[in-house]
Symmetry: C2
Subunit: 198 residues, 2 copies
DNA sequence: CGTCTATTTGAATGTACTCAAAAGCGGTGG
DNA sequence: CCACCGCTTTTGAGTACATTCAAATAGACG
């Protein structure tokens, strides 16, 4: 991928400013990334795939979900601009994953292979450190999600979601939000009506 | 702590055999651990504590739980022999934690301070690597737990728990298992009756 | 404008919940 | 050894709320 910081300012800032890579390191890093477009409804990953790399989400949003035997879908989380997407477990174990990652809007991804990233990380200690910190933060987030799912009911989790992502209703459909809350679309529709009546 | 592999064979095996530390490294490591007894019902951690180290659970079992505003307790997981206990987030951020870790039986812990572990890990690369792998595995486990909580109902999760820990009913009380499943003790009692009638 | 999908609304059902009480169990002290 | 106490588990009855099945309405897209 070629340098042209105009079209991905956040990505540039992440590695240059926030993260402190010098010009040479950044150029080398950038050369390993590949731009990939994912149209709405297309899959970045499906269950059974082995994750071959990691992807920076520059534009658009995705849902990461798992499917129970009955066929019901459960959204683990949504991802938006400036997030990294992929199946963490499959990435590290090289085993087939269990997650689906689907574009909910037309997406632009910057993709880097596992091998390239591993090599770069070995050469650039800052990158290694960043990856570890990112892994840890992701762990905190997941543990907090587990707490949340266990301690809060669907309505509390809905209000929580809206608080964190005020524009969520403009970008994510009712049924996807319902699949995130693990309730039926009808129940979410009724919940919204109930909440708006206050 | 002094070397006497008889009383903690799994711990010794973990670092010597499985992990491959040499005599000198192991002795140095062991010197940093402190034996700590935790009587039944005592707390290793409570919400608000900053986790100052990590602890290897040599004997006994614990519950790690969070409390919702109403006062209801939700067990995130149980820990048994050969597990490490602590509040992962608090350990890394040095912020007050949100979890309670309570002994469900008389416990024996081998405790090491964050500072000692950090220093040792810097000196012994294998230890560093092991810690990272452990962190990753713990991440997989948490993500799988999140999936499980979202896709399975209380009965499925109960059967799952029994499958993984067949002796759980001998060691953990009905109310603690109910708090793990996020249902009322009455409901678990009825569920057991229903299951035994088949 | 018409078709297809998403959302809303209605009615009946089921399951876990709450409140309440009884039964079981373990430990302590007389 | 037995009686009592506290705590855990079981059982009962009524209630609340999300679900299911079903249909109507609204919105999106060609």
């Amino acid at each position: 991928m070629e340098a042209s910081s105009d079209i991905f300012p956040r990505f540039t800032e992440l590695f240059r400013t926030t993260f402190g890579l010098d010009e040479a390191e950044y150029t080398r890093l950038l050369a390993c990334f590949h731009r990939r477009l994912l149209p709405k409804k297309a899959y970045y990953l499906t269950a059974g795939d082995v994750t071959r790399g990691k992807a920076y989400l520059n534009k658009g949003c995705t849902r990461t979900y798992v499917v129970e035997e009955s066929g019901k879908e459960h959204v683990l989380f949504f991802s938006f601009e400036d997030w990294w997407v992929g199946d963490f477990q499959s990435y590290h174990t090289l085993q087939p994953g269990t997650q689906y990652v689907q574009a909910l809007e037309d997406c632009e991804l910057f993709w880097i292979s596992r091998d390239d990233f591993t090599r770069l990380a070995a050469e650039i200690p800052k990158l290694q450190a960043w990856d570890q910190v990112k892994g840890r933060k992701s762990m905190f987030a997941t543990l907090n999600r587990l707490s949340e799912v266990k301690t809060m009911n669907a309505e509390e989790r809905y209000l929580n979601l809206i608080e964190k992502h005020p524009a969520i209703n403009q970008r994510i459909s009712l049924q996807d939000i319902a699949a995130f809350l693990d309730i039926e679309p009808q129940s979410l529709s009724r919940m919204r009506k109930r909440l708006s009546e206050r």
